[in-house]
């Protein structure tokens, strides 16, 4: 277990409990929660955990700010979509698309890195912003290939859709009326476990990565690149390496997402809003610790889905007060999240995880 987690446990009792709870909920989501939305939310969380964690590799571990992370995510997703459209429905298409997306992401990250990681870090932030916006435009321009603004809808192997039936879970009763199992395993559930397993694997891989000697060097570079260079680490190479790795992982996350969703479009995979969401997840959860990405992703997805309901009822209760109802309008949920974000940047720069760990 310890080895599996690369010796880097969540740390702190509360964090451990939270992470364990998240893991269990995700692992048994199809059987614990009712309804399609819950399953969809769970799958989304799996993908976003990987995406946010891969962004944290850059932001938290290497101190590089990139606004092009969703671009790589998109590459992975479009890879699967295009291969499924052109090669026809099938697992080969999924595999080929995934590989192609990851490869394209690696190449693009390498080019951007070679070009801009040599200059100051701020430059990298702005240049990635510019490149990402150019790619988004390109995707909408090349609508014959990419489906433009409207995106692409495609079919995945039948074994992964709700129509397929993979048998039922053996049911057994534990005392009295309590019966576990018995559910039908549809292709959708199989699909979910594909996403879950993929995400878990990638996450463990990243955990390993940041606790490797390589990961330590990244932190050193973040702290003082000049010094890192002078003790014999080639800073540019490390920076480029991590940006390529993080791009590839983002692309893989994109592929998982595409397999789950059976739709890709610029809004779901390339948008600046998604980029901001990832940023929020990483920062609120805690930069520089992958567990932060886990907690951040879960919180943000839950907030997006449920914060609004809470706010709606609060707004109703304050209906007679001036301004407050507007501020609490469910449509203004982003306002509160932004506030939370800013607060977390200063009051717990190490995010929720850092905060909870500190109280150990």
């Amino acid at each position: 277990m310890i080895r599996l987690l690369s010796g880097d446990g969540p740390g702190g009792r509360l964090v451990s409990i939270a992470v364990l709870a998240i893991f269990l909920s995700l692992a048994f989501a199809p059987f614990v929660f009712e309804g399609t939305r819950a399953l969809d939310t769970a799958a989304r969380i799996c993908v976003l955990i990987v995406l946010a964690a891969s962004f944290d590799l850059l932001l938290g571990y290497a101190g590089i700010v990139s606004f092009a992370h969703t671009m790589f995510f998109g590459l992975g997703a479009y890879g699967v979509a295009l291969s499924s459209l052109h090669m026809g429905r099938g697992f080969e298409a999924l595999a080929a698309g995934t590989a192609a997306g990851a490869g394209a992401a690696a190449v693009l990250a390498l080019v951007i890195g070679l070009f801009s990681l040599r200059v100051r870090a701020i430059f990298f932030a702005m240049i990635t912003l510019a490149v990402a916006s150019a790619v988004a435009v390109l995707v909408s321009q090349l609508s014959q290939i990419t489906g433009g603004e409207d995106g692409l809808t495609y079919r995945i192997p039948r074994a992964l859709t709700a129509a397929a039936d993979h048998g039922t879970v053996p049911a057994f009763a534990i005392g009295g009326d309590l019966v576990l199992g018995g559910q039908r395993i549809t292709g959708k559930i199989a699909n979910y476990y594909l996403v879950f397993g993929g995400a878990l694997l990638l996450f463990l891989l990243m955990l390993r990565l940041v606790n490797s000697p390589f990961g330590r060097v990244l932190q050193a570079i973040r702290e003082n690149d000049y010094r890192a260079e002078s003790i014999g680490y080639s800073v540019v190479r490390y920076r480029i390496a991590i940006s390529v790795i993080s791009a590839v992982i983002a692309a893989l996350a994109g592929s998982l997402f595409a397999i789950w969703l059976r739709y890709v479009g610029p809004d779901t995979t390339l948008s600046f809003e998604l980029m901001i969401d990832i940023l929020l997840m990483v920062v609120i959860g805690g930069m520089g610790t992958l567990w932060g990405a886990v907690i951040g992703a879960v919180l943000l997805v839950l907030a997006q889905s449920y914060l609004r309901d809470v706010m709606g009822s609060a707004a109703e209760r304050m209906a007679d007060l001036p301004l407050l109802p507007q501020l609490l309008d469910p449509d203004r949920w982003l306002l509160w999240l932004g506030l939370l974000f800013v607060l977390s940047v200063y009051f717990f720069p190490s995010g929720i995880v850092g905060r909870l760990r500190g109280r150990r």
């Binding site: 010796g7 891989l205 490797s212 702290e223 003082n224 010094r227 002078s230 080639s234």
Partner: protein
């Protein structure tokens, strides 16, 4: 082992290092002295690769390393400490040293091994911590150390690199009279026991007298004297331009 040939560098109109040629041998501790701004640190920068020379070459064991990056030179065995303290401020003291140990063993590229599981690196780290008498500080962040301790950590990181050529830039500046000897005896042992080539920039004459096998004097970027300590110290130029009344000659 290390040699510079007509090394020069010009910053704008200012010739900071002017055709400096000299050789450094293993087992020898060379002190480099000279007034402020004479070009000592810049010479170091040229040798370790932080600054590219306008002309001239740097040779290590006969090979030309003038075009290599600082990192590449460090990997070939040139270790360099800084005059202005230059650490990883947000990391712990032990981690600072560990990174240097890891660098010297070229383990930074390992993506999937576990850093914590690397016993030999860990052992080397504790070893160095003990040698510089900083074991009690190992968990503190480098940024939290007092100035003198930061200087010591700087030296410790250099030790951890285990280079063949050690370059110390005023390692004891700001160290108290009690602490400095610890560091100095370490430096001394490098040369005597390790047979390493040591370059030392220092303004404290007692240190130079005690340690140096040879002194090089830089003045306005030029090498103006090179020889045994006693002889060099007597020279007029050194007396007038550098030593002054000698308040520092404790």
């Amino acid at each position: 082992m290390l040699e510079t040939r007509d090394l020069s560098v010009r910053f704008g109109g200012h010739l900071a290092v002017d055709a400096v040629s000299c050789r450094f041998r293993p087992g020898e501790l060379t002190a480099i002295v000279g007034p402020n701004g004479a070009g000592k640190t810049t010479c170091f920068n040229l040798i370790s690769g932080q600054v590219a020379p306008t002309s001239g070459r740097v040779l290590l064991e006969g090979a030309d390393i003038t075009r290599l990056s600082p990192a590449a030179r460090t990997r070939r065995g040139i270790g360099r400490g800084f005059q202005q303290t230059n650490l990883f401020p947000g990391l712990g003291v032990a981690e600072n040293i560990r990174l240097a140990v890891q660098a010297s063993r070229r383990k930074g590229g390992a993506l999937l091994r576990l850093a914590a599981a690397d016993r030999t690196t860990a052992r080397a780290t504790t070893d160095i911590l003990e040698r510089v008498q900083m074991a009690h500080l190992s968990k503190r962040l480098a940024a939290e150390l007092a100035h003198g301790d930061q200087r010591k950590l700087e030296v410790a990181m250099l030790m951890a690199l285990e280079p063949n050529v050690y370059m110390f830039d005023e390692p004891t500046a700001g160290m108290s009279a009690e602490e400095a000897p610890v560091v100095l005896s370490l430096i001394d042992s490098l040369r005597r026991d390790g047979g390493k080539c040591v370059l030392l920039v220092e303004h404290k004459l007692d240190v130079i007298r005690a340690l140096a096998d040879r002194i090089i004097v830089l003045h306005n970027g030029r090498l103006v004297a090179d020889g045994a300590p006693a002889r060099v110290m007597e020279m007029d130029i050194v007396q007038d331009a550098y030593l002054g009344q000698g308040l520092a000659n404790v």
